[in-house]
Symmetry: C2
Subunit: 176 residues, 2 copies
């Protein structure tokens, strides 16, 4: 698929997934896409764990407690706040770019996914519970997971503001 | 181009640009790609200003003071820290996903670009100086610009850690 079509076709999928598993080679392709994203001063602060072991997925679902985790595979996103430009860390930018690449790669390969971060890093510390299950050390934070699978339900698209309310030429809210 | 090829082919371009201008329709396509990115709870915290007016580009270059600004067009990224999930803001994630989409769309259309953020948000407050030139109000931050143009020099790719040092299956640093 062309890049622009993939970008426009991607949506946050929250429906059910088909039982079909995700081949390792596809998970690798998706993770390679994530690692191909740029990172501030090339610090490469993002790392990834793909989970396709059914028993391990079940353990993770028990702590996540959301139907968003009911996919045949998931990719967990890990980050370290490493200073890049002076004292400034760009680890949030780094993992966000990696996630966006992975969402697009998943769509390109025929899968659907959803950026699940708020439920992971919220007050319930679900990210740390997931990290403990996966053996992630304390100096590394698990901030997000991406369910990966083939959609069983129809895709839905959110309503967005018109282009002219968010994008302009040569000045703020101008069309010049 | 296929999405995976675009993702792998993208790099941070810091060379010279050809004199050729960037047609408005291409700048619109790139900005549409940015706005198609997801945002936390669909808050759409990112907005964009494309600059292709030569006099305005010159003013911006005078405050940026970097050859990274020497492109025939640039897209400035604006953000607002709007709470999305409880008190948590995802505006950094939002604009980062939008930027990544725009970098890919630019490559797809035959352009090169570079994510310039550290120099913009650093101690010199260049982002605010750029924002003032563009009429951006105080409640909105200009955090990044993307030069857009056709490369005159060869592309360079940074060296990255091997896949196995950043991505694993079913556990931290495991291949199971």
């Amino acid at each position: 698929m062309g890049t622009l079509d993939t970008i426009k076709g991607r949506t946050s999928y929250r429906g059910a997934y088909k039982d079909a598993g995700v081949p390792r080679e596809d998970l690798i392709t998706i993770m390679e896409a994530g690692l191909a994203a740029p990172s501030g001063c090339n610090k490469q602060t993002t790392s990834l764990i793909a989970v396709d072991d059914p028993a391990l997925l079940e353990k993770l679902r028990n702590v996540i407690q959301s139907k968003l985790a009911d996919a045949p595979a998931m990719i967990c996103i890990l980050t370290q706040a490493i200073p890049a430009y002076g004292d400034t860390c760009f680890h949030v930018q780094d993992y966000s770019a990696a996630i966006q690449n992975m969402l697009l790669a998943a769509v390109e390969l025929g899968y659907q996914s959803c950026w699940v971060e708020g439920q992971v890093t919220g007050a319930d510390a679900i990210g740390r519970k997931m990290a403990d299950i996966l053996g992630v050390p304390a100096d590394t934070e698990l901030v997000c997971f991406l369910p990966i699978g083939i959609a069983a339900d129809a895709l839905k698209y959110v309503t967005k503001k018109p282009f002219g309310e968010r994008a302009w030429f040569n000045g703020f809210r101008t069309g010049a």
